[in-house]
Symmetry: C2
Subunit: 417 residues, 2 copies
């Protein structure tokens, strides 16, 4: 069934699929199409069930098809969704998010994470009447011409006025600020270093504090891009954990547990600048995803989802380390336990990782070899323990395989590195 | 209730609202917040009912809350929506849209109209390895930095490599092509001239054919931006009506009757270029809006919605002209009958229009004074006849008003014009 759909897709979609959900460069057996999702589980179109550690690449925080969140969505859909003006839900959601996120005095809603980061870029430039922004090398902030990681179809002007520094490297950040000189409009920061293909890093408090200081010294805006990690590390902006308040933060993915909505939150410092850029979208004022987001924010406030996903992530991490050691492997498990990335030591060609991930997949565990994963609150301790058992079997597969060739479909990546 | 919500919104949303659904520059009595929508009708939060000729600024084609479309959405939502990969619906929808749109061999889906136009821009630049695009002055193609009508927060580089011509003016188009020289990547075209604040114009066949020829001569791509008018003028790309096939077309608004999805469709000429840009979004692969779009495309194919909205629009146009004449007014009703724009002759300050639209609003008719409107298939002849009756009363209000001051909140517009 997956194969038949891929053939049909080849005819009517360029390359058969596009964007981050194309499986073109994942291990060979990864299915492209899914039929069903429920709680922590996913079924492909051939009926195979997986416990899903990708959570839709982030949106699934409380479990797929969460009853209360979907009820809020459907109830509002029946009253009215994409109308000629917003419903009261836009006010309720702005109130709920600004109450939850300590740096935020106001909110604006959009659809894509990229909408939110682009609005933040425009707000910083409008606020300062300057152009230059600083970003960390390799950090993903979306796929618009100014930030897409692939230059095809963009012009040099699209990514002009950007200076790159090394994440967590204070000297590199300071050098970038010196280079920006009097034109510094803002500093973008991922809440953690969650770049693909490399180990994750938590932000050093020195780096985060220095970014805040430098913005204050130069009248620039500090922007934390919490699209991917927001609500997974804290019930507040992720940098609240290091005691740093940005001027702007960008949100998406989990804020409505999968319903299409993203947001830019900001402080009063830049309220006027945010209010004078022109940004809009056909569905930005639709009420149903806002009602779902209000319900999600209620669960964020009132449940132990955060402690629960941390505990489940730590249980997984411990169990995988023990299982790897039993088979003579050493893992690099980086980032917060609730957004894990798992790489093999001594695996420059990604071949151990690909073989192991593929073996996990065949055993009903959907892991990702080079993108951070996500725990969701619908997972149970039994799910984690079963995953560790499957991992034990998958490590045995890798051990039995003997020497491996580098992964051919990642040759471009090794050349780039 | 609307007033109370506006006060709360002022605290947590810059200016209390933003984007195209802010009523800041609409006539004074226009409500900001809506509680309910059903069929052709809309209720504001104070319980006032309106027949809605804005249709959510376009998305409502078959009636708000359309049962079959929403059932397709909710059924898919219950199976799985924003999963770790797409569902079969993405293939079904790409097949349905390429079957319906004669120039299209393939499809890519996204969320905003702006996503689709930005993807088309990138595809044209990637296909040609050139930068310059030609657009008509005043035409709206979205709110990204490259196309937002307001420069705040953008850099000169964002809108570099763009040459503007006059819509429907072949000489102006030819001059733009000469100016682009060897760097011409593409020509963007609105399917009709549907700019705000000015009369609409149908495309002259000469202009459309010349745009096609010039693209062919120079190896550039022709892009029809059908986000706003798509499916309202034809069951195919809108320029099928003038016998011109673009290389790319962009879609949104009505394709899922209000559910959040947009699309870029293209021909095989630029399949490879579309397949090598990197574009993606958190919710772009969500299955529920795709299922709703498949249902909508079925209704497009199998019902007389198009003939019906044309007939209703013509009935409205005739009736309004007759009513205006009875009161001594002369209207400029421009564009296709199913996407009407209604302006008063001799109304440079927009004051007659604002007074009349406000009077219509108070009588339960939601019209727009300077943005094209939309008929939907849920409207009935009785709805139209009632609207004409209300218009008769509203013309009497304008007639009784005596001389009027120019609309103060549009002073910026008169300065710009």
């Amino acid at each position: 069934m997956d194969r038949a759909l891929r053939e049909r897709a080849q005819a009517v979609i360029p390359n058969g699929m596009y964007g981050h959900q194309s499986v073109a460069i994942l291990p060979d057996d990864y299915p492209q199409f899914f039929a069903k999702a429920e709680g922590a589980y996913l079924w492909d179109v051939d009926g195979n069930r997986y416990i899903d550690f990708m959570c839709g690449y982030g949106p699934n925080l409380f479990g797929y098809g969460h009853e209360a969140i979907n009820k809020a969505y459907v109830d509002q859909l029946q009253r009215g969704d994409a109308m000629t003006g917003p419903g009261p839900a836009i006010v309720e959601l702005a109130e709920a998010m600004t109450a939850q996120v300590s740096h935020a005095d106001w909110a604006m809603f959009c659809k894509n994470g990229t909408d939110a980061t682009t609005m933040a870029l425009m707000t910083a430039r409008n606020h300062t009447r300057r152009n230059t922004i600083i970003r960390a090398k390799g950090a993903y902030h979306g796929s618009a011409p100014w930030c897409t990681p692939n230059p095809h179809g963009t012009t040099p002007g699209d990514h002009a006025h950007q200076i790159f520094c090394e994440y967590n490297d204070v000297e590199s950040l300071e050098a970038a600020v010196r280079e920006a000189g009097a034109d510094l409009a803002g500093i973008f920061a991922s809440p953690i270093k969650h770049d693909t293909f490399v180990d994750q890093e938590l932000p050093s408090p020195e780096y985060a504090r220095r970014a805040r200081e430098l913005c204050d010294e130069h009248g620039a805006l500090l922007i934390v891009d919490d699209v991917r990690a927001g609500l997974r590390l804290a019930r507040d902006c992720s940098w609240s954990l290091v005691g740093v308040k940005p001027d702007l933060s960008t949100w998406g993915k989990s804020i409505a547990n999968g319903h299409a909505i993203s947001a830019m939150l900001g402080s009063n410092v830049c309220r006027q600048a945010a209010g004078t850029i022109f940004v809009t979208g056909s569905y930005w004022f639709a009420a149903a995803p806002m009602a779902a987001a209000v319900a999600t924010m209620g669960l964020v406030r009132d449940t132990d989802y955060l402690e629960r996903t941390v505990a489940l992530g730590e249980r997984l991490r411990r169990g995988l380390d023990e299982a790897a050691q039993r088979h003579g492997f050493s893992l690099r498990q980086t980032g917060p336990a609730q957004t894990p990335l798992i790489m093999f030591d001594d695996d420059a060609g990604y071949s151990k990782g690909y073989l192991w991930n593929n073996a996990m997949l065949k055993r009903g565990v959907y892991f990702h070899p080079w993108h951070n994963m996500f725990m969701c609150a619908a997972m149970t301790e039994a799910d984690i323990d079963n995953t560790i058992d499957r991992a034990d079997d998958a490590f045995a597969v890798v051990k039995a395989s003997g020497p491996l060739e580098p992964v051919a479909k990642l040759a471009w990546r090794r050349r780039a590195a």
